[in-house]
Amino acid sequence: MREYLKNTWLGIWTVLVGMKITFKHLFIPAVTIQYPDVKVPLPERVRNRLYVNMDDCIGCDQCARACPVNCITIETVKGLPTDDLGITSNGKKKALWVTKFDIDFAKCCYCQLCVFPCPTECIYMTDIYEFSEFKRNDLHYNFSTLSTDEGEEKKLNWEKFQAEKEAQKAAAAKQKAEKPAPEKKESTDKSKSAGE
């Protein structure tokens, strides 16, 4: 009988204690962050979407080689000796036209391994993490500042230059075989005008 009454009392009492706790929580400010309006501050060195500063890129392909999932595709064309490609922010002279610099974020694993080898620190992680798309192809980002046509043009230029050089070399070799002649300077002038 005593046990029975004790049980009853314990039942009522514990329920009241529980109710007190939940009632207190009713007035504790919620921990919820209303996401699209309010965002959690990101920690330093957070790894999110990559960005490539093409002004600094020298097209060295080191990032693409470092990538464990091969999500970076880089194609370069050598600049003509007469082209002015500008210099990077740390003073290096650029020598390659980067005709294609694509990163497929559907593949990217955000490991940051591509960031470290970059000699000019032009590829880095930003704090943008909301870039979901409806189509997978939309996650294919093109960073190259040159359009496809321009890229083609650069390629053609280089091929032409190369061909001319070859031709010159062949001609020079031929001439050497016959007799030395000062033809070389004229042809470089020609290619320069074509490059511009």
């Binding site: 049980n7 009853t8 039942g11 009522i12 329920v15 529980g18 109710m19 706790i21 939940t22 009632f23 929580h25 009713l26 007035f27 504790i28 400010p29 919620a30 921990v31 919820t32 209303q34």
Partner: protein, 355 residues
Amino acid sequence: MFEFLSDLFGSQIIAAFISAALPLVFIVPFVIFAVWLERKVSAHMQDRLGPMRVGWHGWLQTIADFFKLLQKEDIVASDTDKKFFNVAPYIVFAGTYLVFAALPFSSAYIGTSLDIGLFYIIAVSGLVVIGILMAGWASNNKYSLYGAMRSAAQIVSYEIPTAIVILSIVMFTGTLSLSEISDNQTAYFWNWYIFGGPDWGLTKFLVLPFMIIGFLILYISTLAEVNRTPFDMPEAESELVAGYHTEYSGIKFSMFFLAEYGNMFAVSAIVSVIFFGGYQSPIGYLGDALAANWLIPFEQLFWFAAKGIFFVFVQMWLRWTLPRVRVDQLMTLCWKYLIPYSIVNLIIIGIITLI
């Protein structure tokens, strides 16, 4: 109200239909509000926010959900017992609605002012059990059947302490009429039956502790009757998917929902009528002070709704406080604790009434 309407329309039939449809005007907005309240209360008790997007603090969320439910495809599985499967949600809702017919919303509106209102309410709530059994069986799903069986066992068991407590109140008050019980507790809150009723004297103080015990028993057993946590065995999500309404979708599911929340209000209203003065104001009426008699019924409606919603809130509070009990604990609580206590309570209140 019925006389007024029949005078207004000149026809008893139209007046009867309108008078019968009036509780619906209360139930639907109440359910919409209660679902929102449930979500907000549960969220804040768990330090969350709950719905925040649709309207101010999400108050339009349930309306949006309601329209979503209306538009949903009404799926009927191929092996169900179609006839009973389709009719069951409406029977469950009818059971709830019948209870509302006898609730005294205010002194001006009571669906039917029955002399045996309390008895009637106990009787018609049995219809809900049949509807639940029908839904569970017709779904042809083992979880549904489990839920229905548990629900029936639970409701039938917990009807006993409810009935005994109500019987002790009937002995004390000498009436079964809900409006008469409400009118007995008029004026101020110390006239409520939980504080021993309107008569001053030795009886009032003798009966007070037993009234509180009676209130606790009634509240616990009605909580079990409407299948709320901690007694939500029939629809235990973690065990039975959704119990007896697993197979339902769309409008039929919303019928179950409407019935569940309507029932919550109905039992809260019964508790408030029996122990907390029903539609009577605890602090006197503004209409009396301003000498505006037409104001009083509206105030009474306000107090009735406020008390009902407060007890619904306590139900939610308990839901987010206590975990679900096991089936054997459920039965132990009913048969070994509530029923003996309520019988002892009945005897003591009977003796006090006699002296």
